[in-house]
Symmetry: C2
Subunit: 406 residues, 2 copies
């Protein structure tokens, strides 16, 4: 595919940075954003791949396909009746990112980072992760014959680390519960040793997430959803999805923007709490243990820039209690959707906003399902007991009992 | 979508059976097959859904969309370099069925059974399953507000049963290791009590699996693969995929058929061993414990009919040792693909066939990845140990060590 030139720009200063820069953030911690160079009049092309159809929106100087595991191209489905009923939303759609190669949305961003690393001759990928990103980075590194370094706090779900290591990654688990302290400490060390770390809000990762919106736009046949709800930790995902719609608007594909709904656990809501209270800066949370173990960025770098965008465009925020997360997980499961708690959190969030009159019942809402249930079995452990083994001769009685009850 | 009439026909006798028949097999255990009624000149339609585009090939008197969780529409990818190298195949493609709503191919068949149950006014789904089918049936029943009954032998992976129960299913675990004895015993009991059981080779399930081939055909842009390899237990999946290609040929979409490759674990190879030895009947295996815990049909009903098809069309067979399965699982993981062992078995099977000259290196081969790794953590348990927690002050040393080694 034909590639276009792009530049890396600081969101606050407007200053241009070197594309090959090791650090993911600009001076003073400003958020970096990839923008096309020169005249930009994108059109939609033909092709079976979303990368082909929206290639005018791909700004990286390297093709994603060379590193692909088949990420993206995920289903958008109408919500099962039980979930419409629970959230109170009649036109609720679900974007199923658990249909990605490592069963979370991370793969869309990882493929971009992977392709870029190749371009720079770096035969490794490194990340700080509580699980999903580590799995994704480990898998794509394996796909490309690269090494992977996964740096993780002590709170990460053990299953997720195990799987990163089975993909062949080196796991470095650090004796701290504080994800963001870990990120802050590691950044200067990484730069000093020439190590590139790609974290959740990496600007190249954001470019991958954009394509989720292009798919939604196609799948909704040109309708712009009124709201898109996204479980949020570091903020790269929600930023990428919104950027996708911004670019669709800038290029005349659509005439309005969706309102984003930023969802976090109440135990760790640095962005949601700040947005609700109309504060200019994220509220730093103490390291938290929450069922939503993938949503533990307690002091997200770039949080101030994200809040600026959120306030300018009138995003909604919702934080959900641990009981709420458990309830959402249960309702989703009983609707046929087994999500990790960090993803099922989206449903109680929508329920709250509808109950408070912030979401009209007839609004078109897309809830993004970010990660698959089997990736994090923590909740499962309490939910099931050892099963009775029924003797063959009792089968008939049991069948008769089932038939009597449905 | 416009629905066409269909009839249920016995593969051996040619006799027509009632579509609403409770039993999945005909008289004398013959395999049943759904066929269109009247003139049949299918065309490919426009539409974003595979059901829409190939609606002329959907023979059930009920729409799948009403029960859909977004199954199908899975990626076909080029195999990572390490897997091409391992199998010795230069043109190896992977059809990733782990991108389905419950992360296995079963969902394509379950949606058909679910829609049909609704049509018959049956507010339940029941199945005999070692895991993946149970999960899928439980999820779709939950999606539609129906009850689910999952009957399972004592050998089923505990994680899979837990997840079926969290979808809200009733689990009936029977004190036997013998999956097929269980199936044989339960059939008359079910009929007696009016219980419909949909098993792996259910004729309606097969109709769902066909659509996998229509997707392959589109994704390969009209090329017919020389070989398609499928991990096989009851045989419904491989039969459905082949039927899809047969229908594409019968309707003039393609001019040749792929050769199917039937893969089973050596510890339980009733079909593969019979096919290799050119026997007319499946070889009944004793109940086996194998890493490929989803491939434990030891005396599959309808096995003779499947062997007849296989021999007529010259299918290949391959059985894989436990060490081979472990090796395949490892190689797949180290290529970025975390599959359940029952699915990773496909790669050592292809390697063996290539080494024995049965698969030419330049053949176009599709390997079907049937189920996701996180669904069955059995292998994981041995593969990882507790991780060391590195103190924050040692981070720099560890980073320097990583940088020295890539």
């Amino acid at each position: 595919m034909k590639l276009r030139r792009a530049r890396l720009v600081g969101l606050r200063s407007g200053k241009e940075y070197d594309l090959a820069r090791l650090e993911e953030w600009g001076e003073g911690g400003e958020t970096l954003d990839l923008q096309p160079v020169g005249e930009w009049s994108p059109v939609r092309h033909r092709g079976t791949s979303i990368y082909e159809r929206f290639r005018d929106f791909w700004y990286l100087p390297v093709e994603p396909q060379q590193c692909s595991l088949g990420e993206g191209h995920t289903p958008l489905i109408k919500a099962p009746p039980a979930l419409k009923h629970y959230t109170g939303l009649d036109r609720l759609y679900l974007k199923n990112e658990t249909a990605n190669p490592t069963w979370s949305f991370k793969d869309r961003g990882t493929v971009a980072c992977c392709a870029l690393a190749r371009q720079y001759g770096e035969n490794y990928l490194a990340t700080v992760s509580t699980g999903n990103m580590g799995q994704s980075v480990a898998a794509y590194a394996a796909r490309c014959g690269m090494k992977a370094l996964i740096i993780t706090p002590a709170t990460a779900a053990k299953e997720k680390l195990c799987s990163a290591s089975l993909y062949g990654a080196t796991i470095l688990q650090v004796a701290t519960d504080d994800l963001c302290r870990l990120k802050h400490e590691i950044s200067p060390l990484a730069t000093k040793h020439g190590l590139r770390i790609t974290s959740g809000a990496n600007p190249f990762r954001v470019e991958g997430y954009k394509f989720e919106s292009f798919e939604m736009w196609e799948q909704l046949e040109g309708i712009v959803p009124d709201f898109i709800a996204v479980p949020t930790s570091a903020g790269g995902h929600i930023r990428g999805i919104f950027k996708g719609w911004q670019e669709l608007e800038a290029s005349g594909f659509v005439e309005s923007l969706p309102t984003m709904v930023l969802v976090q656990p109440a135990e760790n809501a640095p962005l949601a709490a700040a947005l609700s209270a109309d504060l200019p800066e994220p509220i730093t949370f103490p390291p938290a243990r929450t069922l939503a173990s993938a949503l533990t960025s307690n002091d997200p770098p770039g949080g101030t820039d994200l809040l600026n965008i959120a306030k300018y465009y009138g995003w909604l925020a919702s934080d959900v209690s641990e009981d709420g997360i458990r309830e959402g997980w249960h309702v989703a499961s009983r609707s046929g959707l087994w999500l990790e708690p960090s993803s099922a959190i989206i449903f109680p969030a929508l329920k709250q906003l509808t109950a408070h009159g912030k979401l009209p019942r007839e609004a078109t809402v897309v809830a993004v399902m970010t990660g698959a249930g089997p990736k994090d079995n923590t909740v499962l452990k309490g939910a099931t007991e050892d099963l009775e083994k029924v003797p063959l001769e009792d089968l008939e009685t049991r069948i008769a009992r089932f038939m009597a009850n449905w």
